[in-house]
């Protein structure tokens, strides 16, 4: 009964094909000599050269990288401490806080973008890197919070209690015992947050202001005006970059898991 027919495998194959075909098309035509993405006329790297000469693009890329790293670091601190704190305190407002803090993942992006724009304007924060950082941190914190929370749920609380009984302060117990144990979740949550920040168009469009642009925003405005093979080259590079981050992520998770396993074996 629990078996697939050939037909269903064929169906899945077709869906996967359709899923990856547009990406493949973008990559293939980035190496096309002709400007028109209709026929492949010959292999060429000239669009990559043109891209590297485009200073506005390079600047946008720099902005995106700085923003990604900064918002991921800030949210890692807030999210990790917050998740550990939530597991320790028993305030009445705790569940409300938890609910509101993951709200950014549940409401449509467009709403989040517009309310942040209006709110920053109200607070008189000049639009630019700072508003982008705040905006990205809003949707990055929940990813880290949820990852760390899930990891804490599977952890033995007696380890930290033991440290406290032996005289360690709350910071010491956190730094020496809890943090190393939740590190895999912190790393995977942060990388997820980084990827989300590098990918974001909607929030950024609302909070970037007139002078600063991130890479996805730049791509978006270019796509609206027209299609050039330069965008193909850019998309291909972005793709390589995200896959690189993904590879680092998998490697980090694997290494940390292995380390933890060795650690627990040694304890036995």
């Amino acid at each position: 009964m629990k078996k697939n027919s050939k037909l269903s495998s064929l169906y899945m194959g077709i869906i996967f094909f359709l899923m990856y075909m547009p990406v493949a098309v973008v990559i293939i035509f980035s190496f096309n000599e002709s400007k028109l993405p209709v026929r492949f006329t010959g292999f060429s790297l000239k669009w990559y050269q043109e891209l590297l000469g485009d200073s506005a693009m390079i600047e946008a890329l720099g902005n995106s990288l700085i923003l990604g790293v900064a918002s991921c670091l800030v949210s890692a601190v807030i999210g990790t401490l917050g998740a550990v704190g939530l597991s320790r305190i028993h305030w009445k407002t705790k569940s409300a806080l938890e609910y509101v803090s993951i709200l950014p993942l549940m409401i449509p992006e467009i709403i989040l973008g517009m309310v942040l724009m209006a709110f920053f304007y109200l607070l008189n924060i000049p639009f630019g890197m700072l508003t982008l950082l705040l905006g990205h941190t809003v949707f990055c914190v929940p990813y880290i919070l949820m990852e760390v929370k899930a990891r804490l749920a599977g952890m033995d609380p007696s380890l930290e209690e033991a440290a406290r009984d032996l005289g360690a302060g709350s910071f010491r117990a956190f730094w020496d015992i809890t943090l190393p144990l939740i590190m895999p979740a912190v790393v995977s949550g942060s990388l997820l947050a980084f990827a989300m920040s590098m990918d974001d168009v909607v929030i950024s469009i609302f909070v970037n202001g007139p002078r600063i642009s991130t890479l996805p925003v730049k791509v978006y405005t270019q796509l609206k005006t027209g299609v050039t093979p330069e965008i193909n080259a850019l998309c291909t590079l972005m793709l390589v970059f995200t896959l690189g981050v993904l590879a680092v992520y998998s490697l980090a998770v694997w290494l940390l898991k292995r380390k933890n396993r060795l650690f627990s074996i040694k304890e036995k």
């Binding site: 009964m1 078996k3 697939n4 269903s8 899945m12 869906i15 996967f16 899923m19 990856y20 547009p22 990406v23 973008v26 035509f29 993405p37 209709v38 601190v77 807030i78 999210g79 401490l81 917050g82 550990v84 704190g85 939530l86 320790r88 028993h90 806080l97 509101v100 803090s101 709200l103 409401i107 449509p108 992006e109 467009i110 709403i111 517009m114 309310v115 209006a118 709110f119 304007y121 705040l134 941190t137 809003v138 406290r164 956190f174 990827a195 990918d199 168009v201 909607v202 609302f206 791509v219 978006y220 796509l223 609206k224 299609v227 965008i231 998309c235 972005m238 793709l239 995200t242 993904l246």
Partner: protein, 288 residues
């Protein structure tokens, strides 16, 4: 024991403070401001005048804007139905795969999440444009003489929506089909049910929560994904999302944009509430 607990409690407060502060100021703050803004009056430029009014909500009932909501709803519904039809069998078949194939399929499904959705939509532009690949292939096959106008049309937007949101549906159907006890299906077959009947009475009923949560996960974003309609639809269709964006930028009517956002959020929460209710009822039935 209680003393150590209070000590532990009070000394951990510093950890929670950044989250508390950040969430109150930058998540709760903007959302509360949005609600307040929706009752204000637009001033000149981006300015807002604080005379409380219901005018912004009344304006949504104008035929023009009501039409926008209707069109968004229609598009979201069309996309969601297609996503259900395409995604349900996929998720269901995937749950029936062997463990090693499951892992491979999962990786292939998750990978697009990591690829910028703009890149993936850009691929569709190349495929669908007038002198694009699809028209080329159709012409070569002798199906058409003149290139069809595929890009910047309603179907193009639907293709984009289905394309971006399908993985969400597949994953949620898969996760509920994965938990399915296949011996129940076998039992139904042994008791004389045909293949179709066994599927309908057992498998489908038990995977319904997955299908429903997939509907929520696809329907809600598709009301707001304005950039798909923008890139693939060429401003042919104004969605609630595009309307909000327009009112925030060119229109400079922030209170109206806020009112639109409040209504969109209420619709969203109603759908989630409805989903919770439906699935709860199902659970109770299962227990009874």
């Amino acid at each position: 024991m209680s003393r150590t607990k209070t000590k532990k409690h009070s000394s951990s407060v510093w950890m929670i403070l950044p989250l508390y502060f950040f969430t109150l100021v930058f998540v709760a703050g903007p959302l509360i401001y949005m609600v307040a803004l929706s009752f204000a009056q637009p001033g000149s430029g981006s300015a807002v005048e604080w005379n409380l009014t219901l005018e912004n909500y009344r304006k949504i009932l104008d035929p023009v804007y009501l039409q926008t909501f209707r069109e968004s709803f229609q598009l979201a519904l069309t996309s969601t139905v297609i996503i259900c039809i395409l995604g349900y069998p996929f998720g269901y078949f995937m749950a029936k795969m062997s463990e090693s194939w499951k892992k491979k399929a999962m990786l292939l499904l998750m990978l697009p999440f990591w690829i910028n959705s703009l890149i993936r939509l850009y691929g569709w532009i190349i495929i669908l444009q007038n002198r694009g690949i699809l028209n080329h292939v159709l012409k070569a096959l002798g199906i058409i003489d003149k290139p069809l106008k595929l890009l910047y049309s309603y179907p193009a937007i639907v293709v984009g929506m289905v394309y971006v949101l399908l993985p969400f549906m597949i994953l949620s159907v898969y996760s509920s089909a994965e938990k399915l006890d296949w011996s129940l299906v076998e039992a139904a077959r042994d008791l004389g049910a045909g293949k179709a009947k066994a599927f309908w009475t057992v498998s489908f009923k038990l995977t319904l929560p997955g299908l429903l949560s997939g509907v929520i996960l696809t329907f809600i974003p598709s009301m707001g994904l304005f950039f798909i309609a923008d890139i693939l639809g060429g401003n042919k269709i104004v969605l609630v999302g595009s309307l909000i964006q327009e009112q925030m930028t060119r229109g400079s009517n922030w209170p109206f944009a806020a009112a639109l956002a409040v209504v969109l959020m209420i619709l969203t929460s109603l759908m989630i509430g409805l989903y919770r209710k439906i699935t709860n009822v199902k659970e109770l039935e299962g227990i009874g």
